[in-house]
């Protein structure tokens, strides 16, 4: 679990407002096999797409939190140029979703504090929560944190269910504003393409603007 040391120059010399995106991914045993492989492929595609987009390139900062029997940071926030491509994730263990969400929220808070301390504008962060099952830990606190942030417009959440056993009711609790979406089969690629476009859209806006998400584009990957 590498933690990148992010250069201060990189952070402050670029006045482009940032979009911190935390990918909070389920790597429990049930993800083993093609789901985890497709997920890794999807994440790398996401990185490529961000890298290629003129605007998202300068705005997006991404980290990955994984959760299985516990939660861990796969890599911390960095601009796309500094991000390592992930080679693999290991699917093994339970589904400590609450721990994962809490860690993701903690890292987002920390990142925001860094922006604030350096004088860098930012958009309110995004949390992408992906699971194929149900939490094995107590989610109450995590749910409350997320709901509070979403309701004060300090967080945008994308809860995504993978496969038929994903607990959509739990995911719904993490998303007070819009229903969670279930991935159509293993269309990670389509999802991450959509996500990168959405990030690009935001980065073309000005902080404070309300950005409409491309809801039509959801059709490409979500079971509606």
């Amino acid at each position: 679990m590498a933690t990148l040391n992010i250069g201060a120059d990189d952070l402050v010399d670029n006045p482009t407002p940032r979009v911190p995106v935390s990918l909070c991914l389920d790597t429990s045993t049930s993800m083993a096999g093609s789901p985890i492989a497709e997920l890794v492929r999807g994440v790398n595609l996401f990185y490529e797409a961000i890298d290629e987009d003129d605007d998202a390139h300068d705005s997006a900062e991404i980290n990955i939190v994984e959760f299985n029997s516990s939660a861990g940071l796969v890599h911390d926030f960095a601009s796309i140029e500094r991000l390592p491509r992930i080679s693999s994730l290991t699917a093994d263990g339970l589904t400590a979703m609450a721990a994962g969400v809490n860690l993701a929220l903690d890292t987002l808070e920390k990142r925001k504090a860094t922006y604030s301390g350096s004088g860098v504008l930012y958009y309110q962060p995004w949390l992408v929560l992906m699971t194929d099952g149900a939490p094995t830990d107590n989610i109450e606190i995590a749910v409350k944190r997320v709901v509070d942030l979403v309701e004060t417009k300090k967080l945008t959440v994308f809860p995504i269910g993978i496969g038929s056993r994903a607990d959509m009711n739990t995911l719904a609790r993490f998303s007070p504003n819009r229903p969670p979406l279930r991935l159509d089969g293993l269309k990670f690629k389509e999802f991450f393409e959509w996500l990168s476009k959405s990030v690009a859209r935001v980065s073309r806006s000005t902080p404070g603007d309300t950005v409409k998400l491309d809801l039509e584009g959801l059709e490409g990957w979500a079971e509606l």
Partner: protein
């Protein structure tokens, strides 16, 4: 009328940080209304002069001119006026000689190398503008104009005026100066035009022409014929006609808001290859839509004929307001290079309004230059002056539109395009606000505090709202994308930042320091520090809630003049002495003075990366060994750690934060001790270094600094500030120079001074009283003081004029003054 002239107490300019100068023509003033003014000036000023050791300066050049005049033979002159002038010059010289002996006048400034005294004054004012506030007494309108302009350019208090009979200084308004300047110009110009012009007429015309033009621009004034007219500065008429079409008539300036916008039904939208009908102000016809060039949030853009493109709105963006606005713009005849104004409406087969034809914009979105990496990639050769050119190009268009009562409304970097030749194109004309049709869109970053929270589509923007967006855009262009209200310690809520009006960039303005510690990290503070001061002031006044222009923002015309002056400043090597000021992204603070040492960084090799700084109370520059970046994280401010040190306060220990190895000799030099002492101290720290050329690592340097830094600096400062008892001032015969100063002169290979330092204004310190000289007003004591010449010439030389002086004393101007 009272505002045409301001009276100033001359004593103000006899204070230690100020200087007062007198030009030749004041002594020669024939105007009886001002008679006695000089006498009163000296009566009123003498206490302050002596107390502050700050004599009034009458440069050598002026003395020379008076001397030349006095040597003419009155008998040979026919005109009574000339005879009087010769006498006057002689009397003035006697007066000056005497006054100088009393320490009231300094006349040894400057030499004969300057052909004209005017030139000399200008040079002095340029050179010392950052050191003193200065006032020149002169009647010459040309020099008055020049110095007023200089004061404006440098944002310093530099005044000119004449004396009233009470000895007050009369300062003219900008309006009065331009009026008189133009009169003088006309006088000489008519001589030239009538064929009677001599050399002087010609040179005055050549000098005054451009000068007056510059003056009009800088101060936004035009000469007025009515001498009793308003003295308020009149803004120049918008120069729209120079960019725009002369045919166009402005829109209404006070239209009430139109009823809410309503959608129009459209049966079908034309696409590539469809035939459409167009209608301009006077003609109509059909054409086939060219290929699709792009899609935006409101519609699609197709290739049109020639140099045009066609915007076809999406169905939900075809509204009554849009149609009305586009039609108004089409028939208005408004057109100007760089403005993508509708030239014809476009209708589908059913005759319904679907879009418009406009000129093609070229270049890149302005966002490109808001991102340093893109800027350096796409325009690698650009300098700051190129960014200033872009501001000027943008402002010319905005000024024109404002003169036509068009408010752009949604000014943002997506609506500006910039081509390789720095031309700005403004697009999205259909969103502009005109004739009561609001601009329905907006961007929070460019939204004024008053407009925040309102609905763009339902409120008319005011000119003040618009000027907020203009100012923000300009700031971002020169600051390569930074947002004016960015600061540390925010939660990124832009709306809140705009509302608060906490402009965090540091400034010293009107004598007040604003050292906001929340300046954003990174090079932003350096970029800010190099911006031309008048522009900086205008930004600060506009954005800071305590600023003078916070509620009355600068107009496009004002900004245009300010940016033109910025451009001129960058091209003027004499005024713009710091080679880094024209960099797109300076990496250190601007050098204070022309003589500030500037060096490349030996570690990273960046050019001009190091500027010396002079800590308060010291007389020499300290030149850091490395640039801010190479000096380590504390200098640039790490992302995590919030830098608390105000950046205007230079780092005290250039060696202490070095990242590389440091030689013992360099360490010793930095702390002002011998290498041997440094080696001893190192060994006391448990560090073994063999010789002066041994090197120690940064950690050792840091420990050295922690252990001894403060003490060594204090000791060094103390010695440097101690007077060297072996050196006596040849003027007052007292110790006058510190060890530090002596060493500095020796190091620099300069002769060590022999007297107290007299500033450029001729100020000797108050305690440097020429020995046995006790200036008093009584005549008897004065006669005994003539034996001491403040200058360091041989006694023999100074004897001769004194004898003459004593002989003529009765007739002397001095006696006349105080007798």
């Amino acid at each position: 009328m009272s505002l045409d002239i301001q009276l100033l107490d001359p004593v103000e300019f006899l204070q230690p940080n100020r200087r007062l100068f007198i030009d030749t023509n004041i002594f020669m003033d024939p105007d009886t209304r001002r008679a006695g003014g000089l006498k009163r000036l000296f009566e009123r000023g003498q206490d302050a002069i002596l107390k502050n050791g700050n004599p009034i300066v009458v440069p050598t050049k002026v003395i020379g001119e008076l001397t030349k005049q006095s040597r003419r033979d009155p008998a040979r002159e026919a005109e009574e006026r000339t005879k009087v002038a010769i006498k006057k010059a002689g009397a003035s010289l006697r007066f000056l000689e005497d006054a100088s002996k009393h320490g009231l006048v300094r006349k040894n400034l400057g030499d004969e190398s300057n052909p004209y005294a005017d030139d000399l004054f200008l040079r002095i004012f340029e050179r010392f503008a950052s050191t003193y506030e200065m006032c020149l007494l002169t009647r010459d309108i040309t020099i008055k104009l020049r110095i007023r302009l200089l004061a404006h350019e440098l944002d310093r208090r530099l005044l000119t005026g004449v004396l009233t009979k009470d000895g007050d200084v009369e300062i003219e308004s900008d309006q009065s100066l331009i009026n008189r300047g133009v009169r003088k110009y006309n006088l000489h110009a008519s001589n030239v035009a009538e064929g009677n012009g001599n050399q002087r007429d010609k040179s005055e015309v050549a000098a005054l022409g451009p000068l007056l033009q510059q003056f009009r621009k800088a101060f936004g004034v035009q000469e007025s014929d009515d001498k009793v007219g308003s003295t308020a500065a009149k803004l120049t008429a918008p120069q729209g006609l120079s960019v725009g079409s002369p045919k166009a008539k402005p829109f209404s300036s006070a239209a009430a808001i139109k009823p809410r916008d309503t959608p129009l039904t459209v049966s079908s939208l034309p696409v590539e290859g469809d035939q459409v009908r167009w209608e301009s102000a006077s003609k109509c016809g059909t054409f086939v839509l060219g290929s699709l060039l792009g899609r935006g949030g409101e519609g699609s853009v197709y290739e049109g004929g020639g140099n045009t493109v066609v915007k076809i709105f999406d169905k939900d963006h075809i509204t009554q307001h849009r149609k009305a606005k586009v039609e108004l713009l089409v028939i208005s005849g408004l057109q100007a290079k760089g403005l993508c104004i509708p030239s014809a409406t476009v209708h589908n087969a059913a005759g319904e309004f679907v879009g418009y034809v406009m000129p093609t914009a070229s270049g890149r979105e302005a966002r490109t230059i808001f991102n340093i990496r893109k800027l350096e990639k796409d325009f690698p050769t650009w300098k700051k002056s190129d960014l200033v050119d872009i501001c000027i190009s943008f402002l010319k268009k905005v000024e024109y539109l404002h003169s036509m009562n068009v408010i752009l409304g949604d000014i943002n970097p997506k609506n500006l395009m910039i081509d390789d030749r720095k031309n700005v194109f403004i697009i999205d004309a259909d969103s502009w606000q005109l004739e009561g049709y609001p601009c329905p869109v907006g961007t929070p970053m460019y939204t004024s505090p008053a407009m925040l929270g309102k609905t763009y589509a339902e409120d008319l923007r005011t000119m003040e709202d618009e000027l907020f967006a203009v100012a923000t855009m300009l700031f971002q262009i020169v600051m390569t994308g930074q947002f004016p209200y960015m600061r540390t310690g925010t939660d990124g809520d832009m709306v809140q930042l705009i509302r608060e009006g906490n402009f965090a960039f540091q400034i010293s303005i009107r004598g007040k320091e604003y050292n906001d510690r929340d300046q954003p990290d990174g090079d932003w503070k350096y970029i800010w520090s190099h911006i031309h001061k008048p522009v900086k002031n205008l930004f600060w006044d506009t954005f800071h809630k305590e600023g003078k222009r916070y509620n009355r923002r600068p107009t496009a015309t004002e900004w245009l003049e300010a940016f033109k002056a910025y451009r001129a400043y960058l091209g003027n090597k004499r005024l713009n002495f710091d080679p880094m000021s024209n960099d797109v992204r300076p990496i250190r603070n601007k050098a204070f003075k022309p003589d500030t040492p500037i060096e490349d960084c030996s570690t990273c090799g960046r050019k001009h990366a190091i500027a010396g700084f002079m800590p308060e109370g010291e007389t020499e520059y300290i030149v850091p060994r490395q640039c801010n970046k190479c000096r380590g994280p504390s200098a640039t401010g790490a992302g995590q750690a919030r830098s608390r040190r105000p950046p205007s306060e230079p780092s005290r220990g250039p060696v202490a934060t070095a990242t590389g190895k440091t030689r013992v000799s360099a360490l010793a030099k930095h702390y002002g001790i011998t290498s041997k002492q440094a080696l001893e101290k190192l060994s006391a720290l448990g560090e073994y270094a063999k010789t002066a050329s041994s090197s120690v690592g940064p950690d050792v340097v840091n420990r050295f600094e922690a252990a001894y830094g403060a003490n060594l600096r204090a000791a060094r400062r103390q010695r440097a500030n101690t007077l060297d008892p072996s050196k006596l001032c040849t003027r007052c015969r007292n110790p006058f120079i510190t060890y530090g100063n002596v060493e500095w002169h020796q190091r620099e290979g300069k002769p060590v001074p022999t007297t107290h330092k007299a500033g450029p204004g001729g100020a000797y310190p108050p305690d440097c009283v020429p020995r046995s000289s006790q200036p008093r007003r009584s005549t008897s004591q004065r006669s005994s003081t003539t034996g001491n010449n403040p200058a360091t010439k041989s006694t023999q030389k100074s004897q001769k004029p004194q004898k003459q002086q004593q002989k003529k004393k009765k007739k002397g101007f001095w006696s006349w003054l105080f007798g």
